[in-house]
Each structure stands twice: as C-alpha cells, then as structure tokens.
Amino acid sequence: MRATLTLENGMTVPDQSLTNPDPAWPEPRLTLKSQLEDLTLVWPWVEAIADRYFVPADTQFAIQLCLEEALSNVIRHGYQGQPNQSVSVECAPAVENEGAGELVFIVEDHAPPFDPLASAVDAPAPATASLQEFPPGGQGIRLMRKFASRLAWQQLPNGNRLTLAFAIPQSLSPSVP
C-alpha cells in the first residue's frame, strides 16, 4: 500500500518513502560506475520513479533525456574515460503547499570542477548553414536547458553537483488523494 506524502503548510518536505523504504518502491539513490554501459540502469530506475510519482509520459521523457545527458557528460568528459570512478543520482520530491511540485534529481561526481551551465551553448538552435557543419557536440547542454524546468550547478570540495528539476503537474502530484 502506498503512503501519502506528509505535507506542512508552505514547506518542502521529503517523501516518507525515503526514510521508510518499501521494497516495491524505487531506491532514492542510484550509483553508477564511470562506464557508459551503466547508463542502462537509469531507464528502469526513472521508470519506477515515474510510476511512483504519477509522472506524465512527456515529463518522464524529459527526465530520461536530461539524466542521460548529465550522466554521460560526467562519464565521458568529467572522468575522461577513467574506469572505476562513480557518479550518483538521487531523486527527491519537492512538494509545495498547493500540491504542485517538482521532482529533483541531484547528480554528484568526484571529477574535476566543470560547470556545464557556464557553457556558451544556449537555448537557440545552431545557426549552421548545412548539415556538414552541424556541431557534433554541445547538444546535451542545449537539450537539458530546454527539457528541465530548473538546472543548477555547484562545486563540491571534491567534485560537482548538478541539480535538475522537473515540474510535476498539480493534478498528478502524489500529494493529491
């Protein structure tokens, strides 16, 4: 049986499932090794979270897209192909007073500091004249900016933290009975 979120007026509260995990619920944190094969673990994890929080299909698409980008960037660029490093992603629901809220994903690594949001690549599409000039890279950041509702980067003492938030429609929020 599914527990409901405990809400306090105007406050963001953690889901009780994070402190009282049920085996049927997804783990709040997923840890991957720094190898692209491990990205296959992300899809079922996000799918379980999407089921748990009644996330609409389009939002689930956006989450999958952004996490694939964020995690593959860490593995390929942050760790530069070094094996046996780790990157974690944690999911936390942030629910506001009215029942609307967001799902927040926090990606943490131990790679050298790199702020992907400081990249010159911005939301507008590239003004390339031909397919031959189409940039092979840089799409990931552009896609994350478009599909996440909020992005934030923070340098950690020994790594990076990228926060990606996705709005959950009010009517589908888990706080609604």
Binding site: L36, L39, T40, W43, D58, F61, A62, Q64, L65, E68, E69, S72, A123, A125, P126, A127, T128, S130, L131, Q132, F134, P136, Q139, G140, R142, L143, K146, F147
Partner: protein, 111 residues
C-alpha cells in the same frame, strides 16, 4: 531497438526505427544505419515508432544523413512523435533535414 529497411518505388530507402534511441539504442543501430547510408540515394528515416530520442540517438541519425547528403542524396525524417520532434527542433537539426508527417510530402521532399 529494432531497425528494418524497405525499398520503395522511386529509389527510396525507407529505414524504420522502432524503440528507444537512447545510448544503448543508438549503439544498436549505428552500424546498420551507416551501412544503409553508404548506398542510399534517397533516405526516408521513419521515426514513427521511436519512443525516445537522446543526443546520442540524434547523432546516430545525423551522421548517416550527412553521409547521404555528402554524396548528393536526400534525406527526410518521417513522423516523429511530439517529444521526439521537440528534440529535433531544440537541436536545430530540423532546419537541416526536413521533418514531414505526411508520407506523400516526405516522398516529395526526397525528389
């Protein structure tokens, strides 16, 4: 991720992608896509059954499309779902490879 091809009248090669074009899906179709792109003159990439497209998947479409175009061929992307089309538009690739939802229009685009 499934990939199949069909030769259509007018020398059109229709490649049908079916599944998720995530990192694993992209890796699964890359070789075949590049083989197809090595000989196709008019390439119709059928995205109707593609449920997901990430940037690695995007690359798996752009690279063969570039190969076909560099040989003077034509490419069209057919029937992406709304979210997949949003990825195509955000990347700007829709300005370089036409996206069509009507098969006749897609065929006309290939010349």
């Amino acid at each position: 991720m499934q990939i199949s091809t069909e030769e259509m009248p007018g020398g059109i090669t229709r490649v049908v992608l079916d599944g998720r074009m995530d990192i694993a899906g992209a890796a699964a179709v890359d070789l075949k896509m590049n083989l197809i792109a090595g000989s196709a003159k008019k390439l119709l990439v059928d995205l109707e059954k593609v449920a997901f497209l990430g940037s690695m998947g995007l690359r798996s479409i752009v690279t063969p499309a570039r190969a076909v175009k560099s040989r003077g061929g034509t490419v069209v992307l057919f029937a992406p779902n709304e979210m997949v089309e949003s990825v195509l538009k955000t990347s700007g690739i829709d300005t370089l490879i036409p996206v069509r939802h009507d098969l006749d229009a897609a065929i006309a685009e290939l010349g």
